[in-house]
């Protein structure tokens, strides 16, 4: 999906999602999520104005008024002040926006907020209990598995999805889990160390 805004006949990502969302094309979008996607069935067209959206985020029910074309990452960042989830490529290419939806790691930039209703969403802000970090988060700090820290939330969420399923994940499983998360600073060697340490405990 190229994004030449001034060119004619090009489809912007937002426009694509707008159309997809209204036409109940969530299945097409869902396919871009990590892992096997379950096609959502949504018969009712919604929008184009703001509609009520109910999201269960980090155990709390939140009610928002959003345009149906809005993505989950936008809802989290711009409306719920959960800016720990980062938006970097906005095209499902970098993993920075990874959140858990019903336990699966999903790119929240490729998920419409309306399609995340009725599901359990967990973001980076939902992991620590107060100041007590999870084992994975602590391993990241201890092994210096972060530099600028911009990819960190996505890395942690991708790894959490893996470790929740496979607490003793292998080094190869760990690599595969973050193969879709990019890091430019070079924290990767220490991210692998941290994840392996968290998996071995």
């Amino acid at each position: 999906m190229s994004k030449i805004k001034s060119g004619k006949g090009k489809v912007s990502r937002r426009k694509f999602l707008k159309t997809a969302g209204m036409a109940g094309g969530a299945a097409a979008v869902g396919l871009l999520a990590k892992g096997p996607a379950r096609a959502a069935t949504r018969a009712q067209p919604q929008g184009p104005g703001r509609v009520e959206v109910r999201l269960n985020v980090n155990g709390r029910e939140r009610v928002l008024k959003l345009e149906p074309r809005g993505t989950l990452v936008e809802a989290l960042r711009d409306h719920l002040r959960l800016t720990g989830t980062k938006r970097v490529c906005d095209h499902g290419e970098c993993g920075a926006c990874t959140v858990l939806i019903n336990g699966r790691a999903v790119c929240s930039c490729m998920t419409l907020a309306v399609d995340a209703q009725g599901k359990k969403i967990v973001t980076i802000e939902g992991l620590a209990q107060g100041k007590v970090l999870t084992r994975l988060q602590k391993a990241f700090v201890d092994h210096d598995a972060l530099q600028c820290g911009f990819c960190t939330p996505g890395m942690i969420m991708s790894l959490k999805a893996l470790l929740d399923q496979h607490p003793r994940a292998t080094a190869q499983q760990i690599k595969a889990a973050i193969a879709g998360n990019y890091c430019r600073c070079g924290a990767l060697p220490n991210i692998l160390k941290a994840a392996n340490a968290a998996a071995r405990v």
Binding site: V88, H91, E125, F150
Partner: protein, 788 residues
């Protein structure tokens, strides 16, 4: 013309006169072969943390102090500011040229301006190219309709119009309503074509797209080549790279009356503020720039640039705070890149391997920008009496270049290191021996030690068993390269350390942390000097309002520009504390010491106050200011050195290269935080592996468009491509400053790609002269080898 390749130094210089001098002795160099040197320093300078210094925290592995904030999503970056933080925040979006070269005949933004939720529209409708962001106010109009007379866009992605609206979605909708009539003009995006005499000119009024720099000349190359027994002559090429910082170029601007506050993702809050002051013709005191957490820069975020200028302009026009953040597409087109290069290199040597001459002619393109020079490394990395280096910039109709991690050096390294390996082959010498034969003569050089350590760790001796003769289709090889980078650390830098009666310590400075660990380094140096724990130090950085000058972060200058100033500030604050607690300890202030959280007189260590008890004796907080003093000659000019060795496997059936291991041996004088020092090296190596194997920005010639402006088609390495990286550190203490250190950010990415290319050539017995070493190039080279 476009944002210049600035070295990233803050402009203000200290006005005080240099104080009187004193002489100090310092034990420096490597611990294995220490040297005592006498240095002359200003009277207020502290003794160097030399080999005898007993340091408690410096040099250890200290986890980043902002780690918990970053792993919980609490660290707030520029991109994270929303209307929740700044009520009424508007979102700006930029309409950009889809063409590499066109005349803008008309812009009609009336429909966009009328769209509900749109608060301001600005047209960039004057001149050729939106150049020099400081000149912003001269090239814009408020439209909404314009029929410009002289407006040309000269690269895909150049700014044409800007909209500020209540939401990003509305702003994007508005962009689609802007009607621009372009008359396409001939473009040239390929730098080889741009050099041709009949190529379309990028600059109006120019006579050629080729802009040669003055040659750098040492000795006489003609004489040098006459003396040579062997010469090698080759042409090598490297591609354009994109910085691809995780956080895009972003700024949030807010005007309160005449006062301007900008939250910016920038490598220099001070430089950013200075540029804003020039652009809006304001006093610097009326501008505040804030960078708390930042998602990487790598050279692409010096100065205010267009994103900063436009955010501030739109905020002023709309009368509301405005956020302008590039998306990944804009980031790939109009936020800087590393220039490519074609390098013709000729190297001569005597039979014994000593170099007699190096001649390089190179040209590359920084798009519509300047400074694609790549040859500087060839004058410094090896000893050679006769050198001639000729660089040319070639202008093309593509987005401008910006400095990128060791600007020019990874490019030049690929050429010189490839030539060195081929020279060794001609001379039937071991490539490592050839390097050892050509050391530069500099004090405190630990290069020989580094070659030895690296060779041992990679298993250089195993090299003999590797290479094309292996029966397996998977060929293995080992190669190496030498890193060098100039030491740019120095004044000005100013720090303030404050001790409060409750025992807390605040260390403040208007420096920014790009993600390299600067914040933690500030805490470490403060804690070490005061004898308290790192956790006791509250670090305040990233804000020009502190009025504590610090360099813009680039060129590996930050750590060692600021650390010596922080030491002095802490020492001055401690002096004040000692004055006030000395009576309680029945001692003179000058006899007191502070260590491990205790304060006592040297003669009476048993009678000690805890840090808390001592601080409680203060009636009010005490502060110390520290100013970065000049480097001690000649040590301040000593370059930063490193050596990298790479082991590769090349699949001769698929052409795929796998980097098995990189051994990176680096020195930077004294290491302050081993954890973040290693992290820098990991990052430099990772970028180097990408440079060697994957990364290249591609531009379609007929259409003049970047065809991989995203993170899918622009390939960077991930966990599957990541080699084992072994970091070895040597610490030849350098008495140029009171900390004994240099820098590390750039040298660690200089020789990685060159070392990998040499390893691949060793594995295959045939050399590829162009990066990246993609499978098609490997297979081509192998088939040419078969034919030959």
């Amino acid at each position: 013309m476009y944002p210049p390749a600035r070295a990233g130094r803050a402009a203000r210089s200290p006005e005080e006169k240099p104080p009187r001098k004193k002489k100090l002795k310092a034990k420096v160099g490597l611990a294995e072969h220490p040297q005592i040197v006498e240095i002359e320093v200003p009277e207020n300078e502290l003794p160097v943390w030399d080999l005898d210094a007993k340091l408690k925290i410096v040099g250890k592995r200290v986890p980043r102090i902002e780690g918990p904030a970053k792993v919980t999503g609490q660290a707030k970056y520029t991109l994270d500011y929303t209307a929740e933080d700044l009520p009424g925040l508007l979102y700006a979006k930029v309409l950009r040229s889809p063409y590499a070269h066109a005349r803008v005949e008309s812009i009609d933004a009336s429909k966009a301006a009328a769209l509900a939720g749109v608060k301001a529209v600005v047209l960039i409708d004057k001149g050729q190219g939106f150049y020099a962001p400081e000149a912003l106010l001269d090239v814009v109009s408020d439209g909404p309709v314009s029929h410009p007379q002289d407006r040309e866009v000269i690269f895909e992605g150049e700014e044409v119009a800007v909209v500020a609206a209540e939401s990003e979605a509305i702003a994007e909708d508005a962009l689609e309503l802007i009607e621009v009539k372009y008359q396409r003009l001939p473009h040239v995006v390929d730098y080889e074509e741009a050099r041709q005499p009949n190529a379309p000119l990028v600059r109006k009024g120019g006579t050629s797209n080729v802009l040669p720099a003055d040659p750098q000349v040492v000795g006489d190359i003609e004489k040098g080549f006459k003396e040579a027994d062997v010469t090698i002559e080759r042409t090598l090429r490297v591609p354009v790279l994109l910085h691809n910082c995780a956080e895009s170029h972003a700024a949030v601007a807010q005007w309160e009356g005449p006062k301007l506050t900008v939250w910016a993702s920038t490598q220099g809050v001070n430089g950013f503020r200075d540029d804003l002051a020039k652009t809006f013709k304001m006093d610097k005191a009326g501008i505040r720039v804030i960078t708390q957490h930042m998602g990487g820069g790598f050279g692409s975020k010096f100065g205010m640039q267009n994103y900063g200028a436009l955010a501030a302009l739109m905020a002023r026009r709309a009368g509301a705070p405005v956020k302008l953040a590039y998306d990944r597409h804009e980031e790939s087109l109009a936020a800087g890149n590393r220039p490519n290069a074609t390098m013709w290199i000729k190297v001569g040597a005597k039979k014994d391997g000593s170099l007699t001459a190096i001649h390089c002619r190179a040209y590359g393109t920084a798009g519509v920008g300047r400074d694609a020079s790549v040859t500087s490394i060839m004058a410094t990395v090896y000893k050679c009496p006769n050198v001639r280096l000729e660089d040319s910039d070639v202008l093309t109709h593509v987005g401008y270049g910006m400095p990128m991690r060791a600007p020019g050096y990874p490019q030049g390294s690929f050429a010189i290191e490839s030539a060195m390996d081929e020279l060794a082959r001609e001379l039937k010498m071991d490539p490592l021996e050839l390097r050892r034969k050509n050391f530069v003569d500099l004090p405190l050089l630990a290069l020989d030690e580094m070659y030895r350590m690296g060779a041992e760790k990679i298993g250089w001796a195993r090299r003999r068993e590797m290479g094309p003769q292996s029966a397996s289709p998977i060929k293995r090889g080992i190669g190496m390269g030498t890193a060098v980078w100039g030491n740019g650390a120095g004044p000005p830098a100013m720090s303030r350390v404050t001790i409060s009666p409750d025992g807390t310590v605040e260390s403040a400075m208007a420096v920014q942390d790009l993600g390299v660990g600067t914040r933690t380094l500030v805490a470490i140096v403060t804690a070490e000097e005061l004898g308290v724990a790192v956790e006791a130090v509250k670090v305040t950085i990233g804000d020009t309002r502190l009025e504590l000058i610090a360099p813009d972060s680039g060129g590996s200058v930050t750590a060692l520009s600021i650390a010596p100033a922080i030491r002095l500030a802490a020492a001055h604050a401690r002096e004040e504390l000692f004055k006030q607690v000395a009576p309680a300890l029945g001692a003179k202030p000058e006899d007191l010491i502070s260590t491990d959280g205790k304060i006592f007189a040297r003669s009476q260590p048993e009678k000690a106050l805890t840090w808390q008890e001592a601080a409680a004796k203060l009636s009010k907080p005490v502060s110390g200011l520290g100013e970065r003093l000049p480097n001690v000659a000649p040590y301040g000019d000593l370059p930063l050195w490193g050596v990298q060795f790479a082991e590769v496997e090349v699949d001769t059936e698929t052409g795929l290269v796998r980097v098995v291991k990189v051994v990176a041996v680096h020195e930077a004088g004294r290491v302050i935080n081993r954890a973040t020092f290693e992290g820098q090296i990991h990052g430099g190596v990772m970028m180097g592996v990408g440079y060697a194997l994957l990364e290249r920005r591609a531009v379609d010639k007929p259409e003049g468009r970047v065809i991989n402006p995203n993170l899918e088609d622009y390939k960077m390495i991930g966990p599957e491509e990541l080699p084992e990286i072994e970091v070895l550190i040597v610490e030849p203490i350098n008495p140029a400053n009171n900390v004994g250190g240099k820098g590390i950010g750039e040298p660690c990415t200089v020789p990685t790609a060159a070392a990998i290319a040499n390893a691949v050539a060793h594995a295959l017995g045939v050399r590829i002269y162009e990066l990246p070493l993609a499978p098609d190039r490997i297979l081509d080279a192998l088939s040419r080898q078969k034919e030959a």
